[in-house]
Structures are given as C-alpha cells and as structure tokens.
Subunit: 221 residues, 8 copies
C-alpha cells in the first residue's frame, strides 16, 4: 500500500474462494513480501490450507500468511489477561510479525491475580512496545501502564456478558485509564493494534529481537 | 426504621431550613441514636452548624450527624483510588460509623501506582469488610478483590470526562470485574455502600475495632 | 486461590473436553475442597456426567461440583421473583454451598404479588445474608430491603424483552434502589453474588445452618 | 381543541409576558372553560399572579389556571413515592381537575416502606384511575398494580443520580413492569398522565367524586 | 388473581408441555373464566392445539385461550400502522376479549398514507379506548391523539432496522408525543396494552359492544 | 469555497470581536456574494449590529448576513411543527436565501393538529424542496412525505425533555420514517438542511420564485 | 402511490409466496410502470425468478423489478467505500432507476485510499445528485462533500464490528459531518436514499443521462 | 514517577492554591526536570502566573510548566482539523515537549477541505509520530492514516452538538477507522496522546528535531 504496509485482506464476509483468489493475486503482485488475511471463517481457513500449500494458517488467530515474513526489527510483547482473550492476542501477534517487528506473548496475567503480573514486570519494561489485551472490565492496561513507561496499546475484547456484552465495559475502561499514555483500538481489533505496535517497534533502535512467536505462544526460533 | 437502621435524611433538594428541622424532629424522636443527613449543600452545612451546636458537620463528606454514635462493632476499611474520590469515601466512612461499625481510611492507592497498593495488602486482608472507591476506569476493586478474600463493595465515582463522564466507565468496570465477589452500588453512592458494609462488619465476630476515623482520614481515638 | 476461595472454572467458551480436563486437574491438586464449574453448555454437562462419576451436575444451574462440599457456616437465603429467574438463583445457591455457607431457596415471590412476599418476611429477616434475584423491572430487592435489615445482594437477570432486553432495566433499577444498602452484581451473575454472600454469612456468628438446598429448591438434609 | 380538551399552554421556553398574553387570549376565546399553563418558571408564575388576579397559581406544580374548573366526574388518585416527586404529582393533580375529573393525593408511600402502602390499599382500589409517580428505581407502579385492578398510569420522575440521572432507570422500570396493565408516560410528564387519567375517570360511572385536591395535598371541599 | 383479572401464562421460555399443563391446571381451578397463554412458540401452539381440543389457538397472535370468553362490556378499537405490526395488534385484541371488553381491528392506516386514516376518524372517535400499534418511527399514536379525545394506549413494535432496531425509535416517539394524553407500554407488549384498555372500556358506560373480532381481523358476530 | 458555496462562519465558541473581524475579512475578499454567520450569541448579534451597519441581523435565527443576497432560483418551503422549532426553521430559511434559492415559511402545522397540515398540502406539493422541522417525537416529516412527492429534508430539534432531551427521539423518528425518501440532518442543524435544499431547488427548473421570507415569517417582497 | 412514486414491496418478513403474489397484483394494477420489491431473502429471490419470468432479479441488491423501467431523467452517481458496502449501493441504484433517474456506480473509493477518490472528483462533480455509501467510520460523505457542491445523500451501512456494530459509528459520523449539506438516511437504507436522489435528479435540467447501470456495476447501455 | 515520566498535576477540581502548592513541592523534589499542570481553570492560570514567576503558562492549552524542558529527541507533528480543536492540540503539544520530544503544529486541515491536507502530506510523512485532533465526525485520522505510514494517535474532541455532543461521534469514528493502525485516546485527552507520542518519538532514531512549538503555533527556536 501507499503507506508502505504489506497488503491485508479482511476476511469477514468474503467466501473461501474469494479469500484464496485475493491472496493468490496479491502474492503474485508482491512476491517478496508477506500477504496477510484476517478474520477467516473455519471454512476459509480450510480452503486456504488446501489450496495454498505455502500459506501459514493460524486457526486460533483466524489468519493466513502467504509469502516470506520480513526480518524482525524491534520487539513487541503481547500481554493477555485470560485464555478467552487468546484469539485477539494471536491476531495481534501475527500482524506484528507480518509488519516487520519481532513479537513475544505473555499470557494469563489478569489483574485478579496481580502477583503473576508483578513477576513479569521486568520483561514488560524490556520491550519496544506493548500490546495489552483484556476483556471483562479491561483493567489490565491501566495496571501495566502504571508499572512501565513503554509505549502501550490497549485492546478491549468482546469477552463478557450482561452489561459488559460486546466489550463496552472494556473499551470504556481503557479509554478512561488513570494511567498515563494508554492508547486504544476498537473491540477485538488485534490487527489494528499490531500495525501500530509494529511501526513503533521498528522505528526504535534496531536491536536484535529475541526468539519470535507467531501463534499460540510457542517460541519459534 | 423498621429495618433497625438509624434515620437518614437525603439532603439533596431540601432547603437548609428543612434539613435543620427534620434533623431536630428525628433527634427528638430518637434521642439515643445518631441521626444522619447526607448530600448537604454548603448552605445547609452552614445552617446546621449554626443552628445545631451538637451536630457533627463534615464538609468533605457533606454530612451532618446529630446524637451519640453507637459503639463500633467490627471494622470496615474504606479504600480510595485518588484525591478526587475523597468526598465519596468520606460519605461512606461517616455512614459506617453511624450504622454501628468501626471504620478506617486507606487513601491514594490507585491502580496506576500498584506498589503503594501492594504495601497495604495486609491491612486490607485484616478487615471485616472493604469499601473500595474509584472513578475514571474504576479498576481498583478488581485488583483488591484479587488480593484478599474479604467481602468487598465497589463504589464508582463520577470523577472522569469524555466517554467516562458521569461515572459510566467506572460502574461498568466494577459490574464486570473479573475478580470474584465484587458487589457494586450506584455512582457516588458512598451512603449505600456504607450501610451494607456496616451490616456485614457488625455481624462478623464482635472483636474490638481499632482507632476510628469519621472524616477526611485523621484518626479519632 | 490466594484469596482462600475454592477453584472455579468459567465454562463459557470452553469445550466439554476442556472442562472435564480442568476439573480433573484442579481436583487432583485440591483433593480436600470442592471445585466448581459454571456456565456449562448442555454438551459439557453431559460430558462431565459421563466422565466424572463423582461430580454433582445441576442442569438448571448449569454447574458441576467435584470434591466434598465444606460444612456450612451461616445461612444465605436466595430469593427469586419468577420461575424464569430460576437458573440464576440456582447458580447462586450452588456457589454459596461450595464457598462454605448454608443456603435456602425462597421462590416465586415477585413484587406483583406482594402478599406472598409479606408472608415470608420473617424467614427473610432470619438469614445472615440475602441474595435477591429478579428480572423485568428488577424491583424485588427494593421491596425486600425495605422490609428487613439483613445484608442483601441484588442479582438482575436478563429475563425481559423490548426496552428491558438483556437485563438493562433490572440492573438500573437495583443500582437506583430507594431502599438503603442494596448492592448489585452484573446481569445473570449468580456466581458473583454467591461468593460475596457466602463470605458475609461465614463471618457472621457460626450458628448451625438449617437444611441445605443446592439445586432447584428441594431440601437436601 | 378538536379533541374536546381544554386549551393548555406549555410554558417551557416562553417569556412571562408571552404566557400572560396567551392565557388572556385563550380565556377570552373560551370564557366558560378553564385554561391551563404548565412548566412555568418562577418569573412566569410571579407575572401571572400579578397580572391575572383570577388565575389560580400553584408554585409547586408550576401551573396556572384561568377560568372556572369543570364539575368533577369520576375520581383519580395520584400516588407518590417520595417528597421529591411532589411537583410532578401536583402537575398531574391540577391537570386532572382542569380536564374534568376529581382528584385526591396519596403521598409518601414509596416501596422501601411497604407497610405504609399496604395501609392505603383499600383507598387505591376505590378509584376510577390511578396515577403513580416515582423516581429512583420507579418500582411503585409495579407494586400498586399487583395490589389493585384499577387502570393505572405510571409517571417516572427525574429524581435520581448517577446511572439513574434523568429518570432513565425509572422509565425503564415502569415499561418493564412484571405487573399487568401498567401504562407509562415520559419522565416528569404529570400533565400527560393527568389528561389520560381524567378521560378514563370521566367515562367511568359518573358517581359523585369525594373532596377534591388541586395542589400540594390539602383537601379543597 | 387478586386484582380480579383472569389468569395468564407468559409462554416465552416455557416448553410446550409446561404450557399445556399450566393451562389445564388453571382451567380446572377457574372453570368459569377464560385462561390466556401468550408468546407461544410454534411448537407450543401445535401442542396446545393437539392436546386441548377446546382451546382457541391464534397463530398470528401466538396465543391460546381456554374457557368461555366473558360477555363484552365497552369497546376497544385496535389500530395498526402496517401489516408487520399485525401480530402485536392481534395479541392486544385477544387480551382485550379475555379481559371482558369488546374489540374491533382497524388495520393498515399508517401515517405515510394519512388519507386512509382520516377516512376512519369517526370510527376511532366512537370507541371507549384505543390501542394504537406502530413500528418504525411510531408516529401513528400522535396523529390519532390529535384527531380524537378517546383514552389511547400506544404500543411500539420492534418492526424496524438500523437505528430503529428493537423498537427504540418507536418507543421514544410515543413517550415524546406532542399530542396530549398518549400513554405507552413496552415494545411489542400488546398484552399489557390490552389489559389496560379492557379495564378502561369495561368501566365506561356499559353499552352493547358491536361485532367482535378476536384474531386477524375477520369479524366474529 | 471550492464547492461554489458562499463563505459561512460558525459562530459557536467565537468571540463577538472574532465574528465581526471574520465577516469583515470575508466580505472584503468576496464583495459580490453574501457572507453568512450562524449560531451567534446575543452579544455577537449586538456587536455585529453595532459594527457592521450593512449586516442583516436575525435575532431569532441567530444569524448575520453581509453582502447582497443572490437572486432566488427555485423555491424551498420550510415547514415547522411548533413555535419552539422557530429558531431552527429561521436558520434554515436564512441559509437557503444566502445559498441562492427562494424560501417561504409554513408554521404551526404539527401532527397533533393534522387538519391544519392538510389545509396547506397543496402549497407543500408546489415547492422544489421541503425542509420539515420538528422536535418532540419528530413525526411531521413522515406525515408530509406521505402527502407529497417533493424532495424533503427532515430537521430534528432539541425541543423535548425526559427521554426526548437533546432531540434523540426526533432524530431517530426521522431516520426511521415509514414514508419513502425522508433524508435527515443533525439535531438543530437548520444550516445543513438549508444548504442541501438550496442546491436541490436551484437545480430544478429555474422558474420565478414567489415572495421571499428570510426571518420569522413576514414576507419580504 | 398518492405521491406519484411507483409501488414498492418491503420484502423483509414476507414469505416468497406473498412477495410473488403482491408483485403480480401490483403489476396488474399498474401495467405501465415498474413495481419494485426490496430486502428479499434468497428463497424469495428464487421464487420470484421461477414464477415471474419477466421480473428483473438482482441477487446482490436483493431486489426484484416487474414492469418496464421509466426513461431516465437526470443522473445520480452512487459512490461506495468498500466492497462490503456493495449490496446497499446496489439497492440504491436499482431504486433510482425504478424511480425514473439514470444511475452510475463509482466503487472502491474509501477514505483510506484518498488518491483513488481524488482521481474521480470530476465525475462526482458532474452528477445531479450523489448517493455516498460507507460503513466503518462512515467518513466518505464528509470528504466528497468537501470536494463538490452537488446535492449529496449519505448512507451509513452496518459494516463494522465492536463499537461500530450495527452502523452506529457511521450514522453518527454522517449526521455530524463538518462538510456543509450532507443529509443522511437510516443504516443500510439504500432504498430511501435512492427515492430522494431520483426526485432531485429528475427535477434538475432534463439532460440526456449517460449509460445506465442497474446492478453490480456493469454498464447497461 | 516509577515509569520514568515527569510529574504531572491534573488541575481539574483543584483550587488555584492547591495547584500552586503542588507545583512548588514537585519542582523542589525534581529541580532538574519540568513539572506539568493541565486542565487549569482561568483562576488557576492567573494564580500560577502571579505566584510562580518561572512557570510557563499557556492559556489556550490551559497548562503550566515549571522547570527546564528536556532537550527534544525525535519529532511529533500535531495535526488539527479546525480552530475549535485548538486547545486540545495545544495540550498535546505542551505535553510532548515536557515528555522530551520535539513538536510541530499543523492546523486547519479538516477533511472538508481535502486539498489543504494533501498539500502538507509530505510534512506528515516526515515525523516520528502524528497526533491527529478532530471533533464533529472525527474523520481526519482515517484520511491521514491512509496517506502516510507513520505511527498515529487520534484525539477526538468534544466539539460538536446534537447527536455529536460530548464527542461521541468523533470517538466512535476513530475507533472504527477503516485505515490501518489508528489508535485512540479519550475525548479531549490531548495529554494522554502526548505522553504516548513522545515515548514513540524519543525511541525512534535520535535525529535532530526541527524548530519546536509549544503553544498556539508560533515557532520557538
Ligand atoms: N482484523 C481487521 N480488523 C480491522 N480492519 C482490518 C482487519 N484486517 C484487515 N483490515 C483492514 O481491511 C483492509 C482490507 O479490506 P478488504 O479490501 O475488504 O479486504 C486492510 O487494508 C486493512 O486496513
Ligand atoms: N447519599 C444518599 N444516597 C442515596 N440515598 C440516600 C442518601 N442519603 C439518604 N438516602 C436515603 O434517603 C432516605 C431519606 O430520604 P428523605 O426522606 O427524602 O430524606 C433515607 O432513608 C435513605 O434511604
Ligand atoms: N449552524 C451551523 N451548523 C453546522 N455547521 C455550520 C453552521 N454554520 C456554519 N457551519 C460550518 O462551519 C464552517 C465554518 O466554520 P468556521 O471556520 O469555524 O467558522 C462552514 O463552512 C460550515 O461548513
Ligand atoms: N428497503 C426498504 N427500506 C425501507 N423502507 C422500504 C424499503 N422497501 C420498501 N419500503 C417501504 O415499504 C413500503 C411497502 O411496505 P409493505 O406494504 O409492508 O410492503 C413502501 O411503500 C416503502 O415506503
Ligand atoms: Mg480483564
Ligand atoms: Mg481508578
Ligand atoms: Mg421482577
Ligand atoms: Mg421509587
Ligand atoms: Mg409507523
Ligand atoms: Mg413534532
Ligand atoms: Mg468508510
Ligand atoms: Mg472533523
């Protein structure tokens, strides 16, 4: 795209056939960079896996990547409160890698168990950017932003029910954080958070990123 | 009242003269218990102070108490995130004492400075009930409820602006807490939280309460 | 958990296999206390019943309990307005027992038939804590809190339609109760109300609880 | 008007001079029926009192009436929860008399003190229509409609704060009443409720109405 | 019921078997009056038709009636804007008959074709009460209430989409009617409107009602 | 402006001095076309009247116009429901003239008095565009659009209270109109409606416009 | 219809059989003008195609047209932001043709790729009316209205998720456009926008319209 | 603070005396870094100017700075749509300088005049981070993010009226941007955007920042 970003297909509302065709066309036009598809239905994930042998399909993130990933510059850590927030964290992680930064996942550090979070504070401080994913009351970005001065993007998720259905409580929480410098994206928009975070991390001093994770949390060296 | 609670005057929308007259009438009818007035305007506070020499007027809590306080049974700690939350915390504290429990304030422990909160965790665990007051994103009750298993009432405050104006973000946050057992009252309703907390504390083992605070946080022995 | 509470699995969004596996693992780690799973799908309830012979499955409450229940201390009465509120009342009741208090159900006492409610007023006054469950306009907690001075938690339910769909009318009603001391949890959150109520009841004088009910309202001696 | 109703001036947003002039003009055109002005500012009330000696000005209801009241047919009882709901109840009462029905006030019977309400149940049953005014959680119409089968109009008021500010909780409560047959008007719309109730009462069997009240609650024989 | 109304079953959320059983039990207890069930699913309608030969099942209104209808006193006309509003109008009509008043339907007179409405103005004026059903912008009650001075209940329906989804535009429109005396029920609540209207009509002069319609609009002599 | 429209100053939040200065500057730059200022405070209106002798100040519309009006092409009729809607109708009327179309006002034809509206139906049909202004339930555009097939812009106003405060009921009503072809602008945005209507009228066959009104309704030949 | 518009069937909630029958009846009554059906389900589209050989069925627009299209007068260009907005743009295009104006589609010019939009600015300026369709943040009408002075109708679509679900962000965006003269219809209401735009275009100078498109964007000469 | 950020006083709700005292105390404790106060009332700005001769008071931004500014590293450009958005842009600009980055303002480039925006596209691309401030429909961040690939923070402002009052339309617009990588802060939160942007810019390659602006837009070398 004109902005220098890789091409991305928003899979929601597209047929499996459309997704495969667009990925193929974009990859042919940009053979040297990765092309990303997000929000893929189970059927689209299957169809991509069957049709595009080279595609890297992530069923949790609901993404597919076609083409070689760029070398990572800078490091983003993606922090998630609970297991239900996993798919959104995974979408962010894949997006970050496709957009040229390194990524590491830090899972299961919700505010209701603050000691687990404190135990990883040093790792959080040692990143170029943080993406912090949380549903329910969405308090995690506030607590993390009170601990470390790293650029931080909050991602509210739609995990919740009753007055919190659809992520309303979480997005309001993050927009009203009493901790300085929390910025926010739309509910479940791991993609948007990942694009921003990757830009921030790449522009930071181009140190060597650590081992990189693209999916559910297993390190990929 | 039929429920065994002391009489309470809701000052909002009443003239200074009405407040004084109702307090006088209720005190005459119930000479042995304290009578409480809340939500008093500055003018009403002045008028009560001038007309009722025995009344205990709290300008931060916007309350007046007439008649002897009951001996405290059990202990409630009122925890507040920021200084702007002070008036609501103070209303809760006065209400608790009038309703027969002991009270102590723990101020300035917002989630953006989590270390100050961790430093008082032991004091929080050692109470019969907690009232946790917070505005903005209202995350404090979640963090406290993840630290200690004491009955806990969250009080959202109207401190906030933009999408958080009127306390909406805070009340949604508390209702959607991912920590177990957080119960909530209306925005700025320190009175309601205080009534519940005092009942809970009084019913707990009737140990001797510590030094008791009724206002801004100075201990009253 | 660090707070002293039993382990609880939030079943929503987990597969039947995951639920069974987590219950098994937690029970192995905590053989002496009960482990609770809530919000189970019909399939998960079936799978738990088939795989874990010792589990106590409640199809109305949508819960499963593995491990011995603690001896009950104190008594919570769970009051429900209508039959549609039954599953939420049942979730609260199971939670209360698992968290160590005794429980009794008082059903079908909605505000539209106030005489039935008046007839049980004495039983309501004689509890250590009340959980009051209501949908539609959610008026029941206000009326009960005007009758008795017992600590009371209101649980709005999503029973309703039109402008009341999702429980909005009920949760606003309870937050704005004109009766003193009503505290509230999220819509349909019988679990959260139960955790709070059990803590309150256990801390009250440790009298002998009456016959205890865990499910739909049949007494279990 | 074409509908057979008396002429009514909605005073909100009109100058004192405009109100006086319109009342004078309408009275000249309709010398035999009463003309009503509602929602008058203090200045407009003063100006009407000074300029129109024959006008009946009610400072609580914020109304003025010019011209002879019609003989009352049928009886409406206006029931109010708290003293803050008084102005809305008064607006309803004046409207009812101007529209040709008799009226009686029943004050201070909020749901938090259910015994006071039960004590007047017989008087409520013995009316041709009820107007039930309540703010906060607006539960009163539900309870009254469960007691008596008389046509009943609920009037939510803007009395409340936090999540109840502006009367939202009350109007939702009344629209979602679990008691059959509750109909509702806009927040603070005592006038609209009065028009409907007077029509209903007039059409009922034309018995002799009891002593009639037009203002704050003093009987006017 | 205590209020003198017939017994009514709210079918939503009940199984076909439960509906049949409750209808049978209530009919046995009240053999001389009609028993009504509303909001029945297609399956419940089938089951009632199969099991209760004497029941009068209305598939548009989604109702079933068991037992003899009372003789009609007074007349309610049920006015509907469009064909999509038909089921709600039908629910109101059946409810009115079961509650002892006569009923007539006036269909297809939406505000976008004002001449059709003007053509029936005389019939509207000649009723003891009007129930006016409309979705989309819900303007019909305002126009009708400007034409005739008869007591009028507005019923917003959930017919609509986009910003009007769920009936929000219609219910707000009716609550804010600029025509005097419009009272309102919850979205789609034909039942509630019918109960109120029947009470109003019965209390009016007990003239002989015209031919009565209970279902889709065919006259039943 | 690039779009060919005259220059317009949005007065809200500007000082009287700023308004006068901008009007002067724009008039100097565009001596041959009119320059418009809207949303002027009383102080700004005074200051413009005192400083710019040639300006045409309209205190109801809260506007000022500097420079010669263009000759009118086509005719817009501005229809208003009630007197409170007058200022918004006036803002629309002035805007229309400044943007080159002719304008005529049709006032006081709210839906609650449908006969007055029917009486002017022919005049409504004989316009190139209609601007229909209404507050409260905002039903007027639906009724007018059912009468005539002329392009029609609805303008909701903030006239209303309770659930209609701020114009929410009116704007939802107009967006959900059941009459075909109603388009809508923001609450109180007479300016926006006027710009659109003038464009539509000017493009229509360039017949000679009738006598033209710029303010409260007096014809200006 | 009385307004001179063709007959239109709103297919939502109607069975395939009903749709076919109404189309047939209307066509018989109006053999010389086209009859339109919108919001057809896939089943209704199939049934119309099978039963009415002469009908023109558009599966993207979800419409069917029976009868000869009128000769086009004037030209409307329908501008769409993204491919997901296609069905709404198609509904608008079909409606415009049926209502007697010419139409052309301009697709895939969302604000995130502003250069594509700039490249077609001249074509936009050369239309009698514009219909601008956009979902997500709905910014496209603002940008277009800043480029050209043509009458412009914004159509928000329900394309979006999280805080934008249902089209709320888009409709608010368009109502609050900072560009002058943007008018708006309900979310997804391509039909309403088309009716208005066709009226505007027809009334403009009756030049010869260009090649006309009725469906997905292929020109139909 | 623990995060390495300078100390900041949130002036809202504090007295002028409190603000001066806190600034003095913090400056004494941190003599080598700047201390910032935001959201100051006119009285507080006066009091700071009078009492703290060394403070740098900005009446548009409503800020005061005490202590030497850090040398700027990296460059943030603050882009604003209209003049009403000026105070929020100014708050962001001051915050950025205090937090150690360089800043430049780009004003008056709203989306309704897209050519002005295109003219500065190169300057936008040549920044380390962008802060984009807009009210009304808040479309500016979407357009900018479609032009350049720089990290970008959107700041919705409360500039607007009717359905846009309070900034709701703007914040929803930005959260739902169809352009990749837009992150958002609370309405009017220039401070929060500034903290994030400064962190991002400082971490980018430490090139020499251009001439720096701290207030209304005049360059300060
Ligand atoms: N998960 C996502 N959430 C929001 N926007 C996305 C997402 N994935 C892709 N996009 C955006 O959608 C654009 C592609 O849309 P489309 O052309 O419909 O496939 C991309 O350029 C991104 O800006
Ligand atoms: N701050 C408060 N917030 C909410 N309710 C209150 C408050 N203070 C008093 N009340 C309630 O108001 C009742 C008295 O109302 P009133 O008779 O109007 O003075 C008391 O019995 C309390 O239930
Ligand atoms: N009453 C109004 N409502 C909405 N927008 C307006 C109004 N009056 C003027 N505007 C817009 O505000 C712009 C001028 O804004 P400004 O430069 O702040 O004076 C004009 O070009 C119009 O687009
Ligand atoms: N897509 C649409 N959106 C909104 N209204 C529509 C639509 N299609 C048709 N209508 C309206 O629905 C009316 C027909 O409704 P019906 O009689 O229920 O078929 C038409 O006269 C139009 O005013
Ligand atoms: Mg969380
Ligand atoms: Mg907080
Ligand atoms: Mg209930
Ligand atoms: Mg009440
Ligand atoms: Mg309608
Ligand atoms: Mg109106
Ligand atoms: Mg868009
Ligand atoms: Mg803008």
């Amino acid at each position: 795209a004109r902005t220098g970003d890789p091409e991305v297909v928003f899979g929601s509302g597209k047929t499996p056939e459309q997704v495969v065709e667009i990925l193929r066309t974009l990859h042919a036009a940009h053979p040297d960079t990765a092309v990303l598809a997000t929000r893929l239905s189970p059927e689209a994930l299957d169809h991509v896996a069957a049709e595009l042998a080279d595609a890297d399909v992530d069923r949790v993130a609901r993404t597919a990547v076609l083409g070689a990933l760029p070398a990572p510059r800078g490091l983003v850590r993606v922090v998630a409160a609970g297991t239900s927030d996993g798919p959104v964290a995974a979408e962010a992680a894949v997006t970050i890698r496709v957009h040229g930064a390194g990524v590491e996942r830090v899972d299961d550090v919700g505010v209701a168990g603050i000691h687990r979070l404190m135990a990883v504070a040093d790792r959080l401080a040692d990143a170029d950017c943080l993406v912090v994913v949380a549903g329910m009351e969405g308090a995690l970005p506030s607590v993390v932003a009170g601990l470390v001065g790293v650029p931080l993007v909050g991602v509210p998720t739609s995990v919740g029910y009753g007055t919190g259905a659809g992520g309303l409580a979480a997005v309001l929480s993050m927009l009203n954080s009493c901790a300085p410098g929390v910025v926010v994206v739309n509910v479940d928009n791991g993609y948007g958070a990942g694009v921003h975070a990757a830009r921030v991390a790449r522009a930071a001093a181009p140190r060597e990123a650590g081992p990189v994770v693209t999916g559910r949390g297993e390190a990929s060296p």
